[in-house]
Point group: C2
Chain length 694, copies 2
């Protein structure tokens, strides 16, 4: 009884002593409020590796129970005696099952490697967090994609390009000495969703990141991440041999250049024995590259690939290129440049292709390169950070966007040749497979700038592990873990239509790239004065008195011809083009009749209004959840939803005001007039918008 009283006293002190912001979002989806206690000896590990230790620690942190839970590798004698179906698990899959081990009934978490067990431990926690039980448990899963990688667009001065969650998580200044405990929590969060690689620095890279001090800093991070199965990669500046090596050229066929990269790579591997390799953005948006020396992207990639090959490293070479001197439709340029290189890349090169052919718009048709390079492994690049979707303050769950692209049918080898099958290697039998997400992570306390942005990090990881997962399944998991099982239905209800709402109020019906210049925040469809034609929104929407949209059929740029014939045929005809992509491929008269029976102009207004209505509805749903959500996360989300509501109206009104100035049409009956005149919208300025380093 006295002991109990002491407990209470301790509880009171602890309650006071802990942070004033216990529910500030830092804990992400790893809350483990299972409420079950576990005996200290209830978690048993067989063998001792750093990954097994962190797996056991994570389970202990979760207070799951009752035990015993045994973590044991497949080669453990007792496990082997069970003859479980483990061979298909590969080196990352796991199996969790209620078994009799020796003479005890236990929950077994097993795998062929300690990394597999770590993923199993997190899967077990997720199972319990989402309402599962240990009774007769039987879970197994193997990732379908080998490289599941975050791309951090983090500059060495801490600014995150297109980052809306504070400065870079990497405090380069205090590295390698100080290993912020937060780095471990970052690794935990990634491991919990299966992410196994991270590119530390911006694809717009500085050569400094390859100097000895920065290699030592990267090595310190690699040490922290290693037990969590996460490899470190670096973005490489192609001209580094000039800037750091004092060479006169970075020509990939110059032996001195190749030797410099080999020596540099050896230096990196001495510090980071399991270094993953390089990510390269070359000859794109001003970055140096092999084209500067009249060499191909394959020449550049293969030279780097040769340097990392002896160490087992890879090169991720981005296909995001467009040349300022090339008058061709920007949407065509990556295909035009890379398609002829199919089969020319070394086998430790993987070409990284954005989900769409332009640049992470709220919606884009899938990139025509998917399915078009059967001899080359392609990895897809999604943008988790919402550069074009309202930054951190707009709620847009990207799971449906990821799923939309992954399930898109390239028809490269007939019906069912989905992007997912290109990516997971099953379509063309590639061993090297990958998926990249541009991270939305920064040093903000809640990591991603808002609680709901955390769902996009989560969804990327889960769908990278299994690209056939449904967006709503993933949303359900996330909502139960992040809030509580009781609010899953309304929260998932808000999430599932939220990205479509952004499409509706920003860029309906296949429009894209209408954002204001530079920062990409807010509407700028009128912008027409930038130096390069394809920087201007008017380049993309091509609105005039008679109609709107980019003709990418044979009468226009013929970008549709880059798709497989079955797809190209559909996209070439407005009648068989999905309405959601209509203005991407066609210049359509304002008076065109749509499926709804409305003509194009009122249909567009209808979409704008649907977008703002959805946001208003999310606010109502969230208001109703107030009693069920902690005050701090509820209030911040409510505040951001109010911002989104205001800005959705702004997008709608500015867009409508501009289109009316072009088409001369009246507002459809019943539609609200814009709150301001067009000049007011054009006059808006945002001089210090985040994520846009000058």
């Amino acid at each position: 009884m006295r002991a109990l009283h002491r407990w209470i006293a301790i509880a009171a002190i602890v309650l006071v002593g802990t942070s004033a912001q216990a529910e500030d979002g830092y804990d992400l989806w790893m809350r483990y409020r299972t409420g079950q206690t576990v005996a200290a000896d209830a978690i048993e590990t067989r063998g001792d590796t750093p990954s097994l230790r962190v797996a056991a620690a994570e389970l202990r942190r979760g207070l799951v129970g009752p035990g015993p839970i045994v973590l044991a590798i497949a080669t453990d004698r007792d496990v082997a005696a069970l003859h479980l179906p483990l061979s298909a698990l590969g080196d990352e899959g796991y199996l969790i099952r209620s078994v009799k081990l020796g003479d005890r009934a236990v929950t077994l978490v097993t795998a062929n490697t300690d990394r597999g067990i770590l993923y199993g431990a997190f899967a077990l926690l997720r199972h319990l967090q989402t309402g599962g039980s240990l009774d007769r448990i039987a879970l197994t899963s193997t990732p379908r994609i080998k490289l599941r990688v975050l791309n951090h667009w983090d500059n060495l001065d801490g600014v995150v390009e297109r980052g809306y969650a504070g400065v870079s998580l990497w405090d380069w200044w205090t590295l390698p000495d100080f290993r912020d405990p937060r780095y471990t929590d970052y690794a935990r969060a990634n491991a919990s969703i299966g992410i196994n690689g991270t590119v530390l620095n911006n694809v717009n890279a500085k050569a400094d990141s390859l100097t000895a001090p920065y290699i030592a800093k990267a090595a310190a991070l690699a040490d922290v991440f290693r037990p969590y199965g996460i490899k470190v990669y670096l973005s490489a500046r192609f001209s580094a041999p000039i800037e750091l090596g004092g060479l006169k050229t970075a020509d990939p066929l110059d032996p001195q250049v190749a030797a410099w990269w080999k020596a540099k790579t050896d230096e990196i591997y001495r510090a980071i024995p399991d270094f993953g390799g390089f990510l390269v953005k070359a000859n794109s948006e001003g970055q140096p590259g092999p084209r500067d020396y009249h060499r191909s992207h394959a020449d550049g990639a293969n030279m780097l690939a040769a340097a990392v090959r002896p160490h087992g490293g890879i090169v991720m070479w981005r296909a995001f290129v467009y040349a300022e001197t090339d008058p061709e439709d920007r949407a065509k340029q990556a295909y035009t440049e890379f398609k002829p290189l199919d089969g020319k890349f070394a086998d430790n090169v993987i070409v990284q292709v954005k989900n769409g052919a332009i640049d992470f718009q709220p919606r884009e048709p899938f990139h025509p390169l998917f399915g078009a390079m059967p001899k080359t492994p392609l990895m897809i690049e999604f943008q988790i950070t919402k550069e074009y979707l309202g930054f951190a303050t707009h709620l847009a769950y990207l799971g449906p966007m990821f799923a939309e692209t992954l399930s898109a049918d390239t028809m490269a080898k007939g019906v069912g040749s989905t992007v997912a099958k290109v990516i997971d290697g099953s379509l063309d039998r590639h061993r090297l497979t990958g998926i990249a997400g541009v991270a939305n992570i920064g040093r903000d306390r809640d990591w991603s700038g808002s609680t709901f942005n955390q769902a996009n990090w989560y969804a990327f990881g889960r769908m990278a592990w299994d690209p056939t997962l449904k967006a709503d399944t993933v949303a359900r998991e996330w909502a139960a873990m992040t809030f509580s099982p009781a609010v899953v239905e309304p929260v998932v209800g808000m999430m599932m239509g939220s990205r479509e709402a952004v499409v509706d109020y920003m860029t309906p019906l296949g429009l894209g790239h209408l954002m204001a210049t530079g920062h990409h925040y807010g509407p700028g469809p009128w912008v027409a004065d930038l130096a390069r034609p394809e920087w201007n929104p008017v380049y993309y929407h091509r609105a005039d008195k008679t109609g709107i949209g980019f003709d990418r059929t044979a009468t226009g740029s013929n970008a549709v011809a880059q798709y497989a014939p079955g797809v190209a045929r559909n996209f070439a005809n407005p009648a068989t083009t999905p309405e959601r992509d209509l203005l991407w491929f066609h210049h359509v008269p304002w008076t065109q009749r749509m499926a709804s029976g409305r003509t194009l102009w009122p249909e567009m207004v209808h979409h704008y209004d649907a977008g703002i209505a959805y946001v208003a509805n999310m606010r109502r749903e969230w208001d109703a959840l107030r009693p069920s959500i902690d005050d701090e996360r509820w209030t911040k989300t409510a505040t951001y939803l109010a911002v989104q509501d205001r800005e959705a109206h702004w997008w709608r009104d500015a867009s409508i005001a501009y289109w009316m100035s072009i088409n001369g049409l009246a507002l459809p009956a019943g539609a609200a007039a814009p709150a301001h005149d067009l000049a007011w919208y054009k006059a808006q300025r945002f001089p210090h918008a985040p994520g846009n380093p000058q």
Copy 2:
């Protein structure tokens, strides 16, 4: 009994559910681990104002007890009946006393205003946190300085100039909508140490901060801070009438310019009725100012003062000026320019003078303007952020530095005319008094980049409230509150000599401004190639074959003549100049005999070695404290001490290598040789050092 079991279950869940980083330093010195519970009704407030509400909430958060504690303003009938000595408390002082109120024995916290009660509530918490009891409590205090202000050098893009604790606390992008709970915690921390004003933006100001959107953002912060007695100020860019108003001039005597500032000021006061006023850096380091129009600093300040006067606002006008065209000793320029303006400033102008005449060096003699402008209120500006003292990673407790300057005797009105008496108005009977500290606060989780840097924020506030407080008294309070009473002695022992150690290993014996260019990190005494002479370290140390130091006597720049005669006499003579300031005022032969009996050169080496020895000793002391400090704060501090140790050696070795290249002298007997040759030290580069926006 069942209730008790439920308690335990709750405790277990809470322990899991709270943040993984409960001891990450976020809670500063406000930990309140008194362990005493208090009945819910034990804190009683009489009256209801926002400040009273937050005072009561703070006490409840602290779980002090037993009650009852009564918060009541002096005019409360029961309080008035006690005839307590309240008139001397002014509008910010407090009185705490065990009294009989009506018929009850209570702890009374009273004051003439609710702000005074708020300060009393924090004083009561501090009293309990540092081991005091409620029995027969009798505390009273009144601040000696009216304006106790933080200067945030925060740019609108989030970069903090000379900031080493992450980006700006102000997330301008999500303001005014989102009022981060952290803003409230910032206000709590400041109120707990008596800070009552904050300048939100960098003195190197952008005109944007005066536009309507940014006024609305500042107003949201002012709303959060108001209950905590904290007024908001803005740094004003002097040329804003041109940049925002479209005027052709910013001439302070131009009626249009004055009218623009009046209208702008009125606009600000409509949004922030208790706006504090403007801080101005004019005609300094490239900033615009009245001198651009051949007007005086008084002309500029008075024009702004007229704009804020109707609203009760003030102007803080910085005396930190030096002209690139002026060949005069930089240390003399502020005095030369401002001394003749004494008596010419409006009575709501206060001139803000840095503690020393150069720029926040590890040690500087007090600024000659203190005591030299009796008709003008002067406020002192300290730098809390450690621009020149090793950034966030070096442990340097600045309390002794603050105390050293505040207790320095200007002799302006005879012996005892301390800087503190100039600042608190008692020497020259000024009503307007002030003290400013350049904040070391950012969005890092621990606010100041390290736990020990929090002590400098704390010390600034406490010594601003009472500039006669001893540095070790303040350190003792802080250590007890931040760690625990058990570690006060060793922690304070480490702290008290730490700033002198930095002086020793960086700039001993009155040297200064020897830091590398731009970022001011690490040694650069050899730098001699910068465009302006006074940017070069060689300008300051003037070392040559025969000696070292800046002759500021009559044979040199005669800067000593700017001090009052009694002070000037001492500084003019090497024999009566304190050795700690020797090379500041004199060019001294390397062979000069010092008080220790050593000659100057071995004396310098002795100081370098003393500095590194002190750091080594701090590491030992901290190692011994490992069992007494939570793991996260202990580890981070230990890591930073290791960095400081390495860098103290670097400073010593680089400096010695350089001086030997100048003086041609051998290393004193027993002194260790530098680890590298001079070329190695000169080759060090830090391309992305924090706090140095380009």
